[in-house]
Amino acid sequence: MKTEERLFSWRNSWFSLSLGGTAGLVVLSLIAGFLVLPYATPNSKLGSLWDAICSAAGVPRATAPSEQVAPTFKTSAVVMTSQMPGPTDTRSVGRGATLAMQCAICHASGRHSQPDTPNLEGQPAAAVYKQLRDFKAGARVNAVMTPFAINLTEQDMIDLSAYYAYLPRQPGLHPDAGVPAPAIVIRGAAMRNIPACSSCHGGGEVKAGAPWLEGQSAIYIKAQLQAFAGEHRRNDISEQMRNIARRMTAQEIDEAAAYYASRP
């Protein structure tokens, strides 16, 4: 509509009322939200008025020092993200292949591996790397593995994990496609805080640092679950596996181990 009316002018009541009203509401809310309510919050530990304003605005505060209880055992100090252990190249794989010759006694390929050791072919690099770091640091202890791991350098561990990740997965020891997936594997037990195994160990999703379980020996899987449940193995970051294993029944452990061992 053609009008001579100027909209952006204080004389225009639409302009002055809407802008004034909005600004007034903002100012009132600022007073209430930044000056009044901070003092109404329990334990807000406010010093000055400026403190109150900063807290309400969301300026971060440094965490106050507190007394901490130190661990009585060695926990894993590995930083585990989806980027670990970092990019690798063919040279790294080659060096890993050489280093892996000493591992082959126990971790021989596929069917020849010993039942109490894991198959490493095709494992995600992050899974192998994390366990090697933990063995070296003493967060995970094994009479056979620890002496080997202690002598590995950081680069050795990266190379070894790159090598095993590079290899194709080997068929399991006793493949039997007929074994149905038990409830504990595909569904877990929600109220006992047991998510489905497949939500981290492949099948559904792979969590950074989690190993593949398909085709692993039942004896090895069972032994590890029992070790987690019994607090004999504690290198899982912030108890993520212990939380699960300790709530599993003996039967569920058997079922999960047997199922994964039967996978091709």
Binding site: T75, V79, S198, R246
Partner: protein
């Protein structure tokens, strides 16, 4: 009429705030999820319930795919409790059923919540935010026990949980 309604709503919000009902977190603190398990207050051995010098209790908890640590939180009844929690990976939700304790755990930040449990009892503590394929299995527990019973336990151990 409409303006009155809005005024009433805002008034209610201020009234509830001033009268010390549940309030938004009073300030912001940050935490690095990569290293929470290596150093700082969220290391494994420091999680759980701790008695403070003033008699209040601090509960430290960590959310991760797909469990809370500790998996079972034990707190005294009728005692001021401060929950301090963070996430080690993705966004999780922190909900104690049957109470109005309900917050988010966003990786990078610490959630701080002053709460009080009136009576002893058991609650479930599910993760209420989608955190990945195992989200539906992320249920922890909270046990509220009598103040005196809690004090007895606290005399023996500096960090308490009810993990079996």
């Amino acid at each position: 009429m409409s303006a009155c309604t809005v005024g009433l709503l805002v008034g209610m919000a201020i009234f509830a705030g001033v009268h010390r009902a549940v309030m938004p977190q009073a300030w912001i603190e940050t935490a690095n999820p990569r290293t929470v398990h290596i150093a700082g207050e969220f290391i494994e051995s420091n999680l759980g319930s701790a008695v403070e010098a003033d008699g209040s209790v601090t509960v430290r908890a960590l959310g991760q795919q797909f469990s809370f640590t500790p998996q079972c939180v034990v707190v005294p009844s009728d005692t001021p409790v401060t929950i301090r929690a963070t996430s080690a990976d993705v966004v999780h939700g922190f909900l104690i059923t049957g109470t109005n304790i309900n917050t988010m755990l966003v990786p990078g930040y610490i959630s701080i919540l002053p709460v009080k449990f009136k009576t002893p009892g058991e609650h479930t503590m599910p993760c209420q935010e989608f955190c990945g394929l195992g989200h539906e299995g992320m249920w922890a527990k909270v046990k509220v026990i009598d103040k005196a019973a809690f004090a007895t336990l606290a005399a023996k151990q500096r960090r308490l949980t009810c993990v079996e």
